[in-house]
Structure formats: C-alpha cells, structure tokens
Amino acid sequence: MLEGIMVGLATAFSLTNLLMVIGGCLIGTFIGMLPGLGPMSIIAIMIPVAISIGDPSAALILLAGVYYGAIFGGSTSSILINAPGVASTVATSFDGYPLARQGKAGKALTVAAIASFSGGSIGAVLLMIFAPALATVALLFHSAEYFALMVVGLSAIAAFAGSGQVGKALLMTLLGLIMATVGEGALFNMPRFTMGIMDLQSGFGFITLAMAMFALPEAMYLVLDPSRSSSGSGSGEIKDLRITKAEAKAIAPVIGRQSIQGFLIGVLPGAGATIASFLGYAVERNIAPKEEQEQFGKGSLKGLAAPESANNAACTGSFVPLLTLGIPGSGTTAILLGALIALNVSPGPRLMVDEPQIFWAVIISMYLGNLILLILNLPLIPYIAKVLAVPRNYLIPFILFFTLMGAYIGQNNATELLILVGLGICATVLRFADYPLAPLLIGFILGRMLEDNFARSMQLYDGLGFILERPMTLGLLGLALILVVLPSYRARRARLRAGGAADAD
C-alpha cells in the first residue's frame, strides 16, 4: 500500500495533474453555482474534454475536481439565494439560508467550506484505508436494506416537525411521496397519474420542484415585504467571516461524525450524497440538546455543518464501489464509469494491482482537490457573498430568471416553466399557512427509490417477509422509528416537566 501511495503522490503532484485539479475545481465551482446544473450534467459536459487529454490519470483527476467543485458551488447558491440546484445541497439551505438572512452569509460560507473540506478529506483518508474491505460490506446490502435506509432518510422529517407541526410535516412528506409516483416508474415501466399529459410522462422534475418549493416562495416573500431584503447582509458589507473558537469547538464533533457516517452511506451503491445529507441533518438534530434542537432550521451552525460534511464524504465514499468493484454507486459515478471505459481503464478489483498509478493518484488528488477548493474559495467568500448586496430591484428579477433557467436547462422544456410557476404559487400559499416545505421535497427525492426497493423486496420475498427475515432491515427500520419517536417523547417529557414545575409553583 505504501508503495502505491508513493506512486500516487508522484502522479498527483505532477504539474499537469496539479493544473487538472485546480482547473476542475474552478470549473465545477462556477458552473455548480448555476441552479439547475448538478455534478452529473457538468461531468457529462466535461467528458469529451477529459477524453481528449488522453492520460487516464489526468482525465480522472480533472473529472473528480469538477465533481467536488460542483458540489461546493451548489451549496453556495443554496446558502445565498435559497436555490438548491442539486438534491444533495437541499439540506444545506435549511440552515445556510437563514444564516445568510441574519447577515451571516460570510460565516455560513466559511462553515460550508470548512465542513466540505473536512468531509472530503476524512472521506479520502477512509477511502485509502478501507476501500477494499468496505466494498465487500456494501455488497451485503440488498433492496430490503436500501428500502429501510430510505425510511431512515425519511425520518429526517422529524427535524421539521416543530411543536404543533407533526401532522403537517407528515402530510407534506406523504404529498412528496405521492408526487414521486407520477410518471413512469423504473420497475413497472407504465405511466401513472399523468392525466394524459405527455409532459408528465417522466414525472415532475426535481429541479423544478426544488425551485418551486424554495427559491420562488422566498422571492415572492421578498417582493411582498420589501423590509425583508433590507435585513441581513443587504448593506453590502460582509462581516463576520471568521468563526469563533466556541463555534469551531461546537461543529468539530459534528463534522467528525458526519464525515464518517456520510462516507459509509456513500459507499453503499444507490444511496449517495442526498441520503447522506438528509440523514446527517436528522441525526445531528435528534442528538442535539433541546435548546440547540430548536435552532435547527433557523440558522444553526451545526445544522449547516452536518449536511455539508456528509455530502462531501459521501461523494468520496461513492468512489469505493466504482474503483474497487466497477459498480457505479450513483448517477455521477455511472458517468465517471463511462469515462473510464472510454479511456480504456477497467475499474474493478484488479485496478489497484494492474494500474496503481491511476487508483492512488485519484485518491490523492481527491484530498488535494478538497484542499485546493478551500484555498481558492476562502479568500473569495467576501466577493461571493456580495451577491446579497445587489439592489432588490435587480436581485429579485435575476433570482426569478435563474430559477426559470434552472428548470428549463434541467428538462429542456418550456412547459416545465409553467409547472414551476404553478407549483411555486402553491408553495407560497402553503408557506402562508406555515406548512413545512422541506419534508415535501425529501419525500419526493426519496419516493422513487423507496418504491423501487420496496417493490423489489416484495417480489424477492413474495410479500412483506423481508422485514423480519433480514436483521439489518429490521434494525434500520427500528432506528427510523427511534429517530421519529425520540424527539416527540423528549418534547412530551419536557412539557410534562414544565407542567409539573408550574403546578409546584
């Protein structure tokens, strides 16, 4: 292994490959900031460029840099304008955007940069040490476990069920799951609930829904109440870029835990950064003390650090099945697999032995890529955050324009824009009545995967027997139950205690 690492270091630190990492990170960051363009599309666009380079190590290093850069860029638009163009940065907007609105955009971007760096770096170290062993464990996960894992991911809704909102959060989740059943499913391959509308054949677009749920209502609120845009960092002065020692101490364990958890989820083929980020958010919220729990969703640094570390670590984790087994764990790694094959590299158990310079160079460059992202982006934060200082009369039309473009680019269909406006109006009305919108999006994102894995398990076990027959499934479902019930139980106990204290008075 040590010999391999040395070969990897020599390859990754060559001038060409260093330029590849820097170029990839910059391209990824800038394109990733545009809502609607996720890492998958950016990598797909970059493949012809990578193949034209010829050298597989350099090509893969460039693509990995683009991947990390895009994830980082996606979180920037989530924090600054509440427009998560990628599913894995939806959870980032839950606390990142409230922080920006409180005038702490600089601090939020700093925390995001540090958490992303740490998540990616810890992930790269874990990948280096445990890759082959983890690949074997990942193979033990079957559709039943994936189904249970999706249920655990859905338990994140508990994080949004504030007092008096459990029913509303549940209803929104179910509505999201219902919306996910519209269109042709992967398993049944027949159109459902399309009402004969051709444009609904492929279902609702994720980006359209994300923009409609987050960016559009927020823009409408800014229009309705102009005093909202004058709050926070609207003055143009970006202060508060640094994080204090106490804040660093508070988020350090969160970053550590979520880097490991996110990495392990990333290793599982099919789970990926989205589940990792939601799960990271839910777990941190549920284990936080009561007073900190209430800060989640209102601008908690822990709530921002958790999904940011988890999604970057999961991205690194998704390279485990790709490099060691040749199995793409996510849409993005599927595209990377295509690129590898086009470059005459066969990923799999023999890659580490036959082409160690590629295997190790990619791992080393991942660490390097995260470091470069941090070095490049930290000094740029004051300039990036100045987006919020653009006058309201210009900012709002541009937010709406990028929202529309995000939906258009995602589907290449003008009807999608009308769907976006319709859903955006519904989301604004739901927000008036204090319905949490995040659970709807979580339900929608996880819905299709949940149904596919549920159906596969039902077919394999000829019924619901898989729940009892597979201990890992049962364990994960039990965990989901605990994650949902525990906060309600703690809230109830706190209420009873408060009631008791009041009686004693």
Binding site: G164, L171, L175, I178, F188, V223, L224, N393, Y394, I425
Partner: protein, 164 residues
C-alpha cells in the same frame, strides 16, 4: 376556518381522487401476468393514499394541538392587501409570459424583456443602466448554455433564425 385547515381540505380531496385512481381504475389495464405478482404498480399508491387521507384528516379536524406560543407569521395572509401584492402578481404573470414566449420570441428578447419588465415592476426606472445590464447578462447566459454546455436555446425569434 383557518387557512391551514382549508389547505388540508384541498389536500384531502386530492388524496381521495388519487386513492380512487389507485384502488379502482389503475389496475384495469394491468396485464394478467402482473396480477400474480405480490406487488402491483398500484400497491405503493394505495398505501400512500390511505396514509395521506389519515394525515389530512388529522390536520383538518384539528387533532394536533398548536404550539403554546405560535411564532409570529412572516407574512399575515389575512392582510395580504397591505403588502406589495400587485408587484408579486405582476411578477408571477411575467414568469408565465416568459414561459410562453421563450421559444416563439427567442431567448435574448424574452430574457431582456423579462428582466427589464421585472425590475420596472419593482420600481427601477434607470433604463440606461437596466438595458445594458440585462442585455449583457442574457448574452453571457446564452453563450454559456448554448455554446459551452451545448443545450439548444434559440437566441432570436424563429422567423429571424429560419430566414423568414
């Protein structure tokens, strides 16, 4: 009845229609071999519809006790007319118009028109700044999307690009 319960009523109606389709109409076109499967395309929707109807009823009938100290509303929908409702509706109308005009009018005219009209609605009157800024932004985005990313986006109206 409060707005949240009206919304729950609307969602209940949607869920009932969804459930009706899942329970009574969806399986009609199912091929016979699929009927031997333990799971049908309607299985998951059936479960969801039942759960969603129950959740909607839970909110509608007010079983959930609200927070003791409800947080102040961001925007009080009961006094919506006191906010900039006209501007919000005008911007929504502009978005719908943009969706309808994007292809026939071409990306550049539609985008410049949308951005200028949007800023105008919000009170911006400095056209000498507005026009170059919006034209520049539209041009950069078009170049990025069409030329760099290769996603088709006709810049001008069809009658100009097709030579009349």
């Amino acid at each position: 009845m409060a707005l949240d319960r009206w919304i729950a009523l609307v969602i209940l109606m949607i869920c009932l229609a969804y459930g009706y389709a899942a329970f009574f109409t969806m399986d009609a076109a199912l091929p016979p071999f699929m009927k031997r499967n333990p799971v049908w395309p309607s299985t998951f929707p059936k479960v969801l519809s039942v759960m969603a109807v129950l959740a909607a009823l839970f909110v509608l009938l007010g079983f959930e006790k609200g927070a003791d100290d409800p947080k102040p509303m961001d925007i009080n929908y009961r006094r919506l007319t006191e906010y900039k409702l006209g501007q919000a509706l005008a911007l929504l109308g502009l978005m719908a118009a943009y969706a309808l005009l994007l292809r026939p009018a071409g990306f550049l005219p539609a985008t410049v028109g949308f951005l200028v009209a949007g800023a105008w609605v919000l009170g911006e009157r400095k056209l000498h700044i507005l026009l170059p800024v919006t034209a520049g932004a539209a041009g950069v985005v078009w170049y990025l999307v069409q030329q760099v990313l290769g996603i088709f986006l006709s810049p001008w109206p069809a009658f100009l690009t097709n030579g009349g």
